[in-house]
Symmetry: C2
Subunit: 186 residues, 2 copies
């Protein structure tokens, strides 16, 4: 599928069909995450492909009861959990290279979006789920010391395509040369 079409047509999907996902498509999607750029090619992200129904149900309990993505954890055939190693991305000789400290969140955002875009390319929906009890989810998935779960997404086929989410106009977030200076085409 055309890149710009995927970028503009992608939606967050919260209602899934139970249909299984062919293994070769799962691999294509994870391979898209594999080639994502990262701080000094540190590649700190790992992925847990949760197919086990019981584990999916327990992960659902890590979401708050009002989270609109909760039911999706039961419906979708797979939940992908993104795990990142702390203290590596953004570090140089064990010390943070910048005032931002650990860059794992930035690298995780890039790689997870590769998954989200690649999924859409194959007709599969996802939704970035970051709001959950990470400590609870980490116990369920046996995450070792030094790693943390960043995000989870159900992944699966879907019927309904939600309407586009409204976004700020370009004029509100693009400046020329310095902050606040309107972008004027010369």
């Amino acid at each position: 599928m055309d890149l710009m079409k995927v970028i503009h047509e992608r939606r967050s999907i919260r209602r899934y069909k139970k249909d299984p996902i062919p293994e070769e498509i799962i691999m294509e999607i994870l391979n898209a995450a594999r080639v994502a750029p990262s701080w000094a090619n540190t590649q700190v992200c790992k992925y847990i492909i949760v197919k086990d129904k019981d584990i999916k149900e327990r992960l659902k309990e890590a979401l708050s009861p009002t989270n609109p993505a909760r039911e999706a954890f039961s419906q979708a055939p797979i939940v992908i959990c993104q795990v990142a190693q702390r203290g590596v991305s953004g570090f140089k000789k064990g010390e943070p290279a910048t005032i931002k400290g650990d860059w794992f969140m930035f690298d995780a955002g890039i790689a997870m979006e590769h998954i989200v875009l690649a999924a859409w390319n194959f007709g599969l929906g996802t939704v970035h789920v970051g709001s959950f009890d990470a400590e609870k989810a980490e116990k369920i998935l046996n995450i070792p010391q030094g790693f943390t779960i960043v995000e989870m997404t159900p992944i699966g086929y879907f019927d309904e395509v939600p309407k586009p989410t409204p976004r700020k106009p370009l004029s509100e977030y693009i400046f020329l040369n310095t902050f606040g200076e309107p972008y004027v085409i010369e």
Copy 2:
């Protein structure tokens, strides 16, 4: 261009041609960032399009002398600086919603990668530059309180396409159901 082709063929570009970028292409690329998903659609990222030669040279001085992207700040016709508002993404009623605190880095990663992929789609190179003196760059660009520069990238046309960067094999970062359990196709 095909999404999967862009994902796999994209490279970090550090040598640029001086050729200008047509305005309609700049707008297409920034529009790709506009539609990027973000925490509860908070859209905390803004972009400064630096065309001014003097400002580009000053930004270059915020990079360490050994940074391999330094010369690119002089060569490329434009440097895009990504700025994020702190204390909004990942927050609920003014309090962090998760133990990760501020999610601006995650949202910034997603949106910046939309720029990087969209640029490649139009034959333009970029390189994620996160390692620089952000406080110095923020003074140059008049960044107000509450905002921070996350990343910068030169953007421009290029001649040489670098070789692919080696990545870990899938087996090292994909697990089934829980951390460490090998992913076996059932």
